[in-house]
């Protein structure tokens, strides 16, 4: 790595530095790398991952899916991908020690890499050191649920420098050094200094988990059966000491009654934690669901203030939790006591009602949130920027991810408490900004290589090269026997051995042995396909051979490490020989992609996407159906954070119109579209007539609108208005002093006919901003907000608190006891139940303001979805490729999503979404070409009957029917080599390189021979 790093450091401004290897940082690194930028990715811990590896499953998918955050799928999970990517250098266990910024704004960053004391190349991961280490300390991963040694793996699935010596815990007894067979441990290893010169920096240090012990009265650290959310998450992981079963740490028995206590270390201004951590409600729901699933008998109760399930699809998840029998109690336990003997727990619960009671539970989970963490703050300061009042990174509202220092960008939970989807979007947007800062990249230059020799038509002569893996493989198999067995396989002309195939010298050695054997097929018996296949294929290709000549036999991981021995290895080699024998040779090429992008919708998201794409060197056509740009910005007058949406609209519109690479089409609609990633053809109906456009990708940014209410007397009195209407009245100063009642969740979060089952995410903050503006105008105004759950997430919580402090009254209501509204002349009577009094209250209001939420233009979205072959969800919003890891991608390659058309968002969130869409789009079409997979599918034309089944099953639209020639065709750009067509074809005319039926069947013969 040193070599590569030094190369990097010489490169100056072309390199981007990403600090923080959680999901936001990894996303930033991958988006930059895929755009052809060099990236140094620095992580303070010994392994990449941030919080993510702790999570066994994610809400709402209950699966992982993090691999979808790659810009172009399929690919490995980002942990592996960052390690494998040729443009990414990963430096773990390292900290930023010094930052200099020169006159041109470039950075010279000094990193100090702490010694792991275990040489990762020599370490064979045998674990002997860990066994003999006498030290035992609580394991930070999982918040001390388990203990660990002084030499340890940071987390069980860690990729990279797996074993580390913790210098603070190590007693230097030297037992591990003795136990280490390959001599990989050096307790005196020195830290290493690395200097990176970078033109742009993305800071994604992540937030810290709130230490539950700071809320002493809740018993964490004193009572074993009180767990933090992190500790409980670890307990639920399959690899936990209880194998994923919830148990009471005091006696190991399954709990009968689990309590989740929300907002521990969140929404607590007195405790110095004024923000809402945004994730804990969903996190608790997920944990509660898993607990319930694994212990169906147990009672599960969630104590909460507000259930903040504001993300896309999260409301449905809440209903699922309710349906699973999880109890929700709106009350905040203030003290937890332990019952001596049983070690059960008593929760002092002060509800909204007057009574306070002690409720018994036998396991308590504290839903601990985020705190900004001093590490992130120090890092930000080192680069010359300051955290905001909440202690998080913050930054300008309408320039999300930017900081006060040009060239320094922020992403992830340290910027503001946030969940995975937002962190990943942040990472992609920060990458787009950083790449723009580095200067536009050119389309990828294909290195020109001679046409490869593939020996087509010659009788196969197979050379087998076996890798000893520096003694590892030879210790576990009889290589002489393996050698003899390989020679007996028909077609083998030579059997060779190399010491270490995957080193640079080793790969050359493999190629030389192959060439010397005068063979025309190569079987490399070494380690996994994942590790060695691309390497050896690359070496052969560069030496003028077709990479399809190579077949890998996975001896190490699949046979020898697991204890399979010589016999298994010999079978694997024989099978690989057969596969090589029948190998085919795909045409090696990459297909060009049009570097023009069509953006549909000229609101905040569309304009922002256009600007970011243009900044990344792409040509953009921006289509708006109205005669002016702006979308919803046109009717936004102010925001809760004090931004001026009109100024934003003017600024974006002016920049879009002035940008030489952006062509704006007003009063225009997309009439028709065909094509695919890299080559779409759309017909635009402009006021001047039809325009046909060739473009490589499309960003859909069609927006959504405030819905029109149909209840609460709307339309029966001019004094009953929506939040948006009220905002306009306030902006124009047309609201006289008086009483205002706001009703939240109007026709939202309900399944009933005509309602919007989703949470529109922004209505609570809109109510807050209007209430505060009214108080600015008339400090004595009386305002009541009737709400179901007040969802002022993240640092919006501060404004919620401010509104309360300034006298706004918040009263919760239930769906079965909703407020009633009766227009009465100039006034409106509102009746509702006050839960504190348990009585009906009547208010004579001057205004009733309805928070109705947002609805998409479902018909238009469905039409566009049809044109571009993507999906809309049941509500008419566009569906994203993956709800956790790919929110800016639609369900088909080359189609991206930005803003409200995907789901409700605040303006700043739409800007993030748009920037992320642009970054990810540029990472694919910006390169101008896409290599064709080596396992691409093809058509055996003789036997194709043009039945069309393959066209139907292809998930990528890569197959079509050629009516003239009467055969099916494959578009190699779109084919991702999944093999679906090969299975579906009734004639076996659809086949795939690398695993044709011949190869498979013959290999099976050998495997079972």
């Amino acid at each position: 790595m040193d070599e590569a790093l030094n190369e990097q450091t010489g490169q100056g401004s072309d390199t981007a530095l990403v600090v923080g290897g959680g999901l936001a940082g990894m996303q930033a690194a991958l988006v930059l790398a895929e755009q052809g930028r060099r990236v140094v990715l620095v992580e303070a811990r010994p392994a990449l991952g941030g919080f993510f590896p702790l999570l066994d499953n994610q809400f709402p998918t209950q699966s992982c899916g993090v691999c979808f955050m790659a810009c172009d799928t399929p690919t490995y999970c980002p942990f592996v991908q960052c390690e494998l990517h040729p443009n990414v250098e990963v430096v773990t266990f390292a900290a930023v020690e010094g930052v200099e910024r020169d006159a041109e704004g470039r950075f010279r960053v000094r990193l100090v890499e702490r010694p792991t004391c275990v040489d990762p190349d020599a370490c064979t991961d045998c674990g002997a050191c860990e066994e003999v280490c006498p030290v035992s300390v609580p394991r930070e991963f999982g918040d001390g649920l388990e203990t660990r040694k002084a030499v340890f793996r940071y987390y069980p699935k860690a990729v990279g420098k797996a074993y580390v010596v913790d210098p603070d815990a190590c007693t230097r007894c030297g037992k591990c050094v003795e136990a280490c067979d390959p001599g990989a441990i050096d307790l005196d290893a020195e830290p290493r200094e690395v200097v990176v010169e970078a033109g742009a920096v993305v800071l994604a240090p992540g937030a810290d988990a709130f230490p539950a012990s700071r809320r002493e009265e809740l018993g964490y650290g004193r009572y074993p059966n009180v767990l933090s959310a992190v500790r409980f998450e670890r307990m639920l992981a399959a690899g936990s000491p209880s194998s994923g079963r919830p148990v009471r740490p005091s006696d190991g028995r399954p709990p009968r009654s689990i309590a989740f206590v929300q907002c521990v270390g969140s929404r607590d201004a007195e405790g110095g934690q004024g923000h809402c951590s945004s994730v804990c409600c969903m996190f608790a729901l997920k944990q509660a669901l898993f607990a319930k699933e694994r212990l169906p008998e147990a009672e599960v109760t969630v104590y909460y203030m507000d259930l903040r399930t504001f993300g896309k699809g999260y409301e449905a998840y809440l209903r699922r939790a309710e349906a699973a029998g999880i109890r929700f109690v709106r009350a905040v336990p203030s003290v937890v006591r332990e019952v001596p003997g049983s070690r059960d727990l008593l929760l002092q619960v002060a509800g909204e009602g007057p009574a306070s009671a002690e409720v018994p539970h036998d396991l308590v989970v504290l839903s601990t949130g985020f705190c900004p963490g001093t590490a992130g703050q120090d890092l930000l300061r080192a680069f010359g920027a300051e955290p905001d009042a909440s202690g998080f990174g913050g930054g300008p509202e309408f320039e999300p991810c930017a900081t006060a220092v040009p060239g320094v960008y922020l992403a992830g939970a340290f910027r503001e408490p946030r969940d995975i989807p937002e962190s990943v979007l942040d990472g992609a947007r920060a990458a787009a900004l950083a790449a723009e800062r580095l200067g536009a990249a050119d389309a990828a230059e294909e290195p020109r290589l001679p046409a490869p020799a593939d020996f087509r038509g010659e009788e196969p002569r197979v050379a087998v090269v076996l890798c000893e893996c520096e003694g590892f493989n030879t210790d576990r198999a009889d290589f002489d026997a393996l050698d003899r067995a390989a020679r007996e396989v028909p077609g083998v002309v030579a059997v060779e051995r190399v010491a270490h195939a995957c080193s640079r010298a080793g790969l050359e050695e493999v190629r030389n042995r192959f060439a010397a054997a005068e063979a025309n097929r190569l079987v490399l018996g070494a380690c996994s396909h994942r590790i060695v296949e691309q390497l050896v294929r690359g070496v052969l290709r560069r030496s003028g051979f077709h990479p399809g000549l190579v077949t890998v036999a996975n001896l190490r991981e699949a046979c020898l490490e697991a204890g399979g021995g010589t016999r298994a290895a010999a079978d694997a080699v024989a099978a690989a020989v057969r596969e090589a024998w029948y190998a085919g040779f795909p045409e090696l090429r990459s297909e060009s992609l049009e570097r023009t992008v069509l953006v549909v919708g000229g609101g905040a998201a569309g304009m922002e996407a256009a600007l970011r794409l243009a900044g990344l060197g792409l040509s953009v056509h921006l289509v708006e159906k109205e005669p002016a740009l702006g979308g919803n910005l046109a009717t936004s007058r102010f925001t809760l954070r004090g931004g001026d949406p009109q100024a934003l609209r003017e600024d974006l519109a002016a920049r879009v119109e002035a940008h030489p690479a952006v062509k704006v089409h007003l009063g225009t609609r997309v009439e028709a579209a065909t094509g695919r990633l890299g080559a779409f053809r759309s017909v635009l109906q402009t006021p001047e007539g039809e325009v046909e456009l060739l473009h490589g990708a499309v960003v859909l940014a069609t927006g959504a609108r405030e819905a029109e209410p149909r209840s609460y007397g709307y339309g029966q009195s001019p004094r009953i208005v929506t939040q948006k209407e009220f905002e306009a009245l306030l902006a124009e100063g047309r609201v006289p002093e008086g009483r205002v009642v706001m009703i939240q969740c109007v026709e939202s979060r309900e399944e009933a006919e005509g309602c919007r089952p989703w949470c529109s995410r922004v209505c609570c903050t809109h109510a807050l901003k209007n209430a505060r503006r009214l108080l600015d105008l008339h400090p004595g105004a009386g305002i009541t907000v009737l709400y179901r759950d007040l969802r002022a997430y993240g640092t919006y919580e501060a404004q919620y608190r401010d509104a309360r402090d300034r006298g706004v009254v918040f009263v919760s209501y239930d769906l079965d006891r909703r407020p009633r509204v009766e227009p009465d002349g100039e006034r409106v009577r509102v009746r509702y139940i006050d839960p504190a009094l348990g009585q009906e209250v009547t208010e004579e209001a001057d205004w009733v303001v309805l928070s109705v939420g947002m609805a998409p233009d479902a018909a238009e979205n469905a039409r566009l979805a049809d044109l571009y072959g993507v999906e809309v969800d049941a509500h008419g919003f566009f569906r994203e490729k993956n709800p956790k890891a790919a929110l800016a991608d639609a369900t088909r390659p080359g189609v991206y999503l930005a803003g409200l058309c995907h789901g409700p968002k605040h303006i700043e969130e739409s800007l993030v979404h748009a920037g992320a869409a642009a970054g990810r789009c540029a990472a694919v079409v910006g390169r101008g070409a896409r290599p064709v997979s080596e396992n691409v599918s093809y058509v055996v034309e003789k036997i194709c009957s043009r039945c069309g089944v393959c066209v139907e099953v292809c998930p990528y639209g890569a197959r079509s029917l050629d009516m003239d020639e009467n055969v099916a065709r494959v578009d190699p750009v779109l084919c991702r080599a999944c093999g679906a067509c090969t299975m579906a074809c009734p004639n076996k005319a659809a086949q795939q390189y690398g695993s044709s039926p011949k190869q498979m069947l013959m290999a099976l013969d050998e495997l079972l021979g």
């Binding site: 992982c64 399929p74 592996v80 690899g239 093999g979 099976l1004």
Partner: protein, 147 residues
């Protein structure tokens, strides 16, 4: 081995595992790198996706003398090709039907979702499957075919 030889040679089942590249194959790698030992009865076939496991391959494996076949793919929702694992699931359901008609117990075919990070689960699955197939005894399909 030094002890008294068993009357008949102990039955060692042979299992072929078709693993998808992105998840289960990588999980199997992890089982290796983390030194999870599992019985040597398994032979791995590497494919891009569990949705590319042809019924013919499974039958061929049984014909060639396999006593069990394991198909490993990504968890539901995690297939790197969107829905290959669902296709595999449907295909296996049909396959089991066919096997039933051929007189082969359908639980000689296992379909399991094992992710790239579930090395332990892979090792456990192989161990469990080897024991289960061992208990079932040799698959008679090959003999039928040979006759």
């Amino acid at each position: 081995m030094a002890e008294t030889a068993p009357k008949t040679e102990a039955f060692e089942p042979r299992i072929v595992a078709f693993l998808c590249h992105w998840c289960t194959y990588t999980g199997a790698d992890l089982a290796g790198t983390t030194r999870q030992q599992y019985p040597p009865n398994i032979r791995v076939v590497h494919l891009m996706c569990s949705g590319a496991v042809d019924v013919v391959y499974v039958l061929k494996a049984l014909m060639d003398g396999a006593d069990g076949v394991l198909i490993g793919g990504c968890h539901p929702g995690d297939c790197h090709y969107e829905s290959g694992n669902y296709k595999a699931r449907r295909r296996v359901a049909i396959l089991r039907n066919i096997l039933g008609q051929l007189g082969i117990p359908e639980d000689r075919i296992w379909l399991r979702w094992i992710s790239a990070s579930e090395g332990k689960k892979f090792a456990e699955t192989v161990t469990e499957m080897t024991e289960a197939i061992r208990a079932m005894g040799p698959c008679e399909f090959k003999q039928h075919w040979d006759v």
